[in-house]
Structures are given as structure tokens and as C-alpha cells.
């Protein structure tokens, strides 16, 4: 996963001391970027299911479909994008595991 800024060759390389602060700041923003939209959706969406239910999608009442299938999809996408983004952050700051 390519965007490594410094590529140490050692087997037990640790993150550089001065990289720790920027790494953690970056990680915190990623945490907010993953959780804030997710929480907004899972709190707000189920409350409006009633109004959406008059529409249909794949034969489902739309409100029920979004609250069941939709939220599963959103949860999976949230975790998958978090895994990708956070891995990129780890590599960018040289904080990734050695393998």
C-alpha cells in the first residue's frame, strides 16, 4: 500500500519520535470522519422510516429497507473505508507493522 514517505529497511523499525504527534492527530480526525456520519445516520434514519414507507424499493417498503438493509450496508462500508484510510495513515507516518 504505496504512500510510504520514509522506507526504513529494518525488521523492527519504530515510528520516529517527531512523527507521533502528527500521526495521532491524523488518526483522531479519521476517527471523527468515520464515526460522526455513521452516528448521524443510525440515529436519524430510523426515526423517519414511517414517512419513507409509502415508497417502494425492490418490493420493500423503503423505510424498512433503509433501516435494515441500508444500515447493514452503511456499517460495512464505514468499517471497510476506515480500514483502508487508517492503513494509508499508518503507512504515511511510518507507523505500520513490519511485514
Amino acid at each position: 500500500m504505496g504512500t510510504s514517505r520514509k522506507d526504513g529497511g529494518g525488521t523492527n523499525r519504530m515510528i520516529e519520535r517527531k512523527e507521533r504527534k502528527p500521526y495521532w492527530r491524523h488518526t483522531k480526525w479519521q476517527m471523527l470522519a468515520s464515526l460522526a456520519p455513521f452516528f448521524a445516520v443510525i440515529i436519524i434514519l430510523p426515526l423517519y422510516a414511517d414517512r419513507l414507507n409509502s415508497n417502494k424499493f425492490l418490493g420493500f417498503p423503503l423505510g424498512y429497507f433503509l433501516a435494515a438493509h441500508g444500515l447493514v450496508l452503511i456499517a460495512v462500508v464505514t468499517v471497510a473505508s476506515f480500514v483502508r484510510q487508517q492503513d494509508a495513515i499508518d503507512h504515511w507516518h511510518g507507523a505500520h507493522e513490519d511485514n
Partner: protein, 612 residues
């Protein structure tokens, strides 16, 4: 001393092994179907459907015995993300999900989603806030993590005692579901069923601790998935011509909705905090399926979701799974798989409920005098349903269903061969064994590591540690069986309360232990105890019918009070030492040596130096 790479080799033949297991399981089911056609006695086949899979699990359990601490307590840290995620999802879903969630969907429709959404959210929160860091730390139990993270033995002991309570609650609930299923299969007494389940837990967990639990658990999860899917896929193929029930129950649901409207099922507008969760007793359906909010009010739905999120994210019987991931990256990926698999399981439960409601509504709207069809008579004979009044025409309130039998009612209502009912029961037992296995192992490790050897940081050397671990698991499973045999509360309520306790007592402490550097051992202790006591008081006060906060939502008061206690006490006491701060800094970075292993290594070196 050579430093092991933090990422460890994964067995490349896992896929084949579990392919073989699944073929064996399918062979048992198909042989049973053939023998049934040949006229073999049904009770023998049911017994085979119980004992056959158990023999397979036992074989795996014994084959995965372990004598190395890393194998015994963390499955060697080489469980790939998919298998780890499968286990995590199924130990959270368990028999509670299979049996009680399906029943909830059937009885209250949309409102049951709060359980599923909450658990999915719990996995997302676990992935982002906890999983990578706990994996980097690498402790085998949650009390070990908190104790070493804050360098405080009292905290370790207190966490062990607090965490043991929800684990026993969950364990007892799962064993109750398993025992009920075993009784339906065989006609045994409760005592016999609990004894057999205890022996199964022993033989599948004691030989290899976490290692045995992992691989028998994967087998049980696959079996549960397969066995619960087959009947509903057959029903879906009959009703909708498409074998993907999760995605195609839409038109059926609309037909159900139309029939509910014809039947005049009420649209209930409940107060915001209404929390009227159906119990296990026989009862008619309460509300229209797809209409939100009737049994639960909107506020209770949202708060219930949040409470589930906190509980699942910090469940001490789920988090030790992360220590078994091969690396931090794999630990994050584990949660991705867990979310996906839990989502599929939840949608399957919903589709089973919709098909079952379709059978019911079809019967009710059929005009003319009420004729009890053979499948309903069969359900009533088995005690899965009851017909309360037989007037000229069936109504929604004249047929009652037992919440925990809806999953089992589907193959009967669709008039499938009796073998498929046995298969559903085998699914319930397998699902219960996964969750019960995870809970027993977690509690057993806590008992041996944090309570028996909790007085000192030095872990005992040699086989003593493994023997203590085995004893711990045996004691933990016995505690679960005893609790299951003597506590008669609704198991679903027990699980929700257990999650509330975890959410209040552990969630704030665990999250802040990573995300707030200034927190110290006093703050952690205060947060743990405050959250725990507030949750207990709220649960005790929420038992009544008109309580302001239902017991299952105790976390919504517990979490804020725990957070307040952590901040107040941490800021009023001296900041953490440099050593502790260094631990936090290292937890936050995925690269580098696993902290727990580093500590073990320094301990070993110290011992060697003393000897020489």
C-alpha cells in the same frame, strides 16, 4: 533473544478443513433425511441430529489441544480476519439472535431492529475506537489489559469481578436457549440437557482454551449459518421463486402489510420512552410489521440502539477475540467481516419472521369459518402456538405464538419434512455453543489469569498456567450452567441487561484509556465502579411496569455518570507516571512489538539474570 514478527503465519489449509467439516455436517442432515424416507424412527434421527454435530465439535476441540500459553490464551495469534470476524459476529449473535431476535421481529416487526442496528454499530465503534489498540496491547483478557495499562493491581481485580457478572449472565442465557432446543429434539429433562451441554463445553474448550474455542467455534458458526439458512432458503424458493430470502422478502412483506391493513391491525402511537419488549410467553402479534414504533417509542428505540452499541463494543467476552488476530491491520479487518456476517444473520432473522407472518396473515384473511390447518394444529401440539378462541373467523388476536419458537415454527408451517425442524434446532444449539464457548473461555481466562494469579504481575511458568486456565474454564462453564438452571428470568432480558452493565462499567473506561492520556488509575477505578453501581441500581429500579428507565436501557444513565466520575477523579488526583504515559504512546501506534509480549520477554530476561 530473537524477536518474533508481530504478524504470524496463518494455516493455509483452514478453508479445506472447514469445507470437510461442513460436508460432514451436511452429510448428517442428508442421511437423516434419507433414513426418514426409509421409515426409521424419528426420535432416533433427532438424537443423531443432536449428537452427530456434537461429535464433530468434540473431535475438533480435542484435536486443537494446546500446551503453549500463547496458543492456549490467544489461539497462537494466527486466526485470519474472516474466521475471526465470523466468530465475533456469531458469538455476538448467538442463540439469542437466532431464537429471540427472530421472535421479536415476528411479534413487533420493525421495532426489533434496534437490537441488530445496535450490534452493528457496536462493531463499527469497536473497530474505530478499541480494536486496533487492544490488539497492539495484546493482553489475553480485559482485566489484564486495564490492570497493566494503568499499572494497578486493584483495578485489575475490580475489573475482573465486574466483568464476570455480565459474562455469567450471557452464558446462562445462551445455555437456556440451547437446553430448550435439546429438550425439543430429544425429550430429555432439563437436568439431562444441562449436563450434556456442560460436558460438551468441557470437551470443546478445556483441551486448548482459546485455541479450541476458536476452531470449534468456527465449525459451530458455519453449522449454525448453514442450518438456519437451508429451511428459509427452501421456503423463499417456494414463496418467491428466488433463493435469496434476505433480499427478496420485500414483495412478501408488502402482501403481509396489505393483509394487516385489511385485518385492521392497529397503528400504535406509543409514548417516546415506551419499551414494551415481548417476553417468552405465548402472545398474539402486536403491531404491523413494517410500521416503525408501536412496542417501542422513538426515543426508546434510539436510546436502546446506543445502549446496545456501548454494550457490544465493550463486551468482555467478545474483545479477547481481537488478541487472536495476526496483526493490527487484521484486527481492523476482523471487524469488517464481523459487521458483514452479523448483518446477513440479522437480515435472515428478519426474513424468517416475514415468511412466518405471511403464513399467519394468509390464514387469517382467508374468508369463511375458521378451519385449523394441519400445520397450525402441529404447532399447537408442540406448544409453539396456541389458538385462544375459535369463533367463525380467525383474527390476529385469536392465534398466539411463543417468541422463542418462531424460528422453529417456519419449517412446520411450510410443511417441510420433520428433518428440517431438527436442522433448525441443531442451528440453535450450534449458535448457543459459539456464544457460550466465547463466554466460558473469557470468564475462565479471567478467573485463572486475573483472579488466581492476579496478586502479582509475574505470570507462573511452565504447565501450571495452562492447568489453571483449564480449571478456570471448567469452573466458568459450571457457573454458567448453574445460573442457567436456577435463574428463570427471560433470557433476552438477561442479555440486554448484561450488555447494559458492560456499556456502563467498561465502555467509558476502555475508550478513555486509549483516547485520553491524562486518565489515571484512580479515575479508571472510579469510572468502573460508578458505571457498574449506577447500572445495577437502574436495572433494579427498572423492573416495574411504569419505571422511567427500563432495565435494558440502564446504560443511558450509567455511561454519563461513569464518564463524569472518570474526569472528576482523574483531574483531582496526580497525573499518570511517565511509565504509564509511555504505555499509552505505544498503544496508539500499530507498529513495533506487542506490548504484552514485550513485558513477558523482560520478565523472562529478569528471571534468567536472577538464575545466573
Amino acid at each position: 533473544m530473537a524477536i518474533l514478527s508481530p504478524s504470524r503465519a496463518v494455516n493455509p489449509r483452514l478453508g479445506s478443513y472447514f469445507g470437510i467439516f461442513l460436508s460432514g455436517f451436511a452429510a448428517i442432515a442428508l442421511t437423516s433425511l434419507i433414513l426418514q424416507g426409509l421409515g426409521v424412527d424419528l426420535s432416533i434421527l433427532s438424537l443423531a441430529m443432536l449428537l452427530g454435530p456434537i461429535a464433530l465439535y468434540a473431535g475438533i476441540g480435542i484435536a486443537t489441544h494446546a500446551s503453549d500459553p500463547l496458543d492456549f490464551f490467544a489461539a497462537g495469534r494466527r486466526v485470519p480476519a474472516f474466521f475471526n470476524g465470523l466468530l465475533l459476529a456469531m458469538s455476538a449473535f448467538g442463540a439469542t439472535g437466532l431464537v429471540a431476535l427472530t421472535g421479536l421481529f415476528f411479534l413487533i416487526g420493525y421495532d426489533a431492529l434496534f437490537v441488530g442496528i445496535g450490534a452493528l454499530g457496536g462493531f463499527v465503534v469497536m473497530a474505530v475506537l478499541l480494536a486496533p489498540f487492544l490488539r497492539k496491547f495484546g493482553a489475553f483478557t480485559i482485566p489484564s489489559y486495564l490492570g497493566r495499562r494503568f499499572d494497578s493491581r486493584p483495578l485489575r481485580l475490580a475489573t475482573a469481578l465486574v466483568a464476570a457478572i455480565p459474562i455469567v449472565m450471557v452464558l446462562s442465557a445462551e445455555l437456556r436457549f440451547a437446553a430448550e432446543a435439546a429438550i425439543v429434539l430429544t425429550g430429555w429433562s432439563h437436568g439431562q440437557a444441562f449436563l450434556v451441554l456442560y460436558l460438551v463445553l468441557l470437551v470443546t474448550l478445556v483441551p486448548g482454551g482459546m485455541r479450541s474455542m476458536t476452531w470449534t467455534g468456527v465449525a459451530q458458526s458455519l453449522a449454525a449459518f448453514f442450518a438456519v439458512m437451508v429451511p428459509v432458503i427452501i421456503v423463499a424458493a417456494i414463496v418467491t421463486t428466488m433463493p435469496v430470502p434476505q433480499l427478496t422478502h420485500g414483495p412478501v412483506l408488502r402482501a403481509v402489510g396489505r393483509n394487516e391493513a385489511i385485518q385492521g391491525l392497529p397503528i400504535i402511537l406509543p409514548p417516546g420512552m415506551a419499551f414494551d419488549l415481548p417476553g417468552p410467553e405465548l402472545q398474539p402479534i402486536m403491531k404491523r410489521f413494517a410500521d416503525p414504533f408501536g412496542a417501542l417509542g422513538p426515543a426508546a428505540f434510539v436510546l436502546g440502539t446506543l445502549s446496545m452499541i456501548a454494550g457490544v463494543a465493550s463486551a468482555p467476552w467478545l474483545l479477547p477475540r481481537l488478541a487472536a488476530a495476526p496483526g493490527v491491520y487484521e484486527a481492523r479487518k476482523t471487524l469488517g467481516w464481523a459487521t458483514f456476517i452479523f448483518g446477513v444473520a440479522m437480515l435472515t432473522a428478519a426474513s424468517i419472521a416475514v415468511f412466518m407472518r405471511d403464513f399467519l396473515m394468509d390464514l387469517i384473511v382467508t374468508p369463511g369459518p375458521a378451519v385449523v390447518p394441519p400445520w397450525l394444529a402441529e404447532l399447537a401440539k408442540r406448544g409453539f402456538a396456541s389458538i385462544t378462541e375459535t369463533g367463525t373467523q380467525f383474527t390476529a388476536s385469536s392465534i398466539s405464538f411463543a417468541r422463542d419458537s418462531v424460528l422453529l415454527s417456519l419449517p412446520v408451517a411450510a410443511q417441510l419434512p420433520p428433518m428440517l425442524l431438527d436442522l433448525s434446532l441443531a442451528a440453535v444449539i450450534a449458535g448457543a455453543l459459539v456464544a457460550a464457548g466465547a463466554a466460558s473461555t473469557a470468564l475462565g481466562h479471567i478467573l485463572s489469569e486475573d483472579i488466581l494469579f492476579g496478586g502479582t504481575w509475574e505470570t507462573p511458568h511452565g504447565p501450571v498456567r495452562i492447568h489453571a486456565g483449564r480449571g478456570g474454564i471448567a469452573v466458568a462453564a459450571a457457573a454458567g450452567v448453574l445460573a442457567a438452571a436456577f435463574v428463570m428470568t427471560d433470557p433476552l432480558r438477561v442479555v440486554l441487561c448484561a450488555l447494559s452493565i458492560c456499556g456502563s462499567a467498561l465502555f467509558p473506561v476502555l475508550v478513555l484509556s486509549i483516547w485520553w492520556k491524562r486518565m489515571n488509575a484512580f479515575g479508571a477505578m472510579a469510572g468502573l465502579l460508578t458505571g457498574f453501581l449506577v447500572a445495577l441500581l437502574t436495572i433494579a429500579g427498572g423492573q416495574g411496569e411504569s419505571a422511567a428507565i427500563p432495565s435494558a436501557l440502564a446504560a443511558i444513565i450509567g455511561i454519563p455518570s461513569a464518564v463524569a466520575a472518570i474526569f472528576a477523579v482523574s483531574l483531582a488526583t496526580p497525573p499518570p507516571s511517565r511509565h504509564v504515559l509511555q504505555i499509552v504512546r505505544d498503544i496508539r501506534v500499530p507498529g513495533g512489538e506487542i506490548l504484552y509480549d514485550r513485558e513477558m520477554r523482560t520478565q523472562r530476561l529478569k528471571k534468567l539474570r536472577q538464575l545466573s
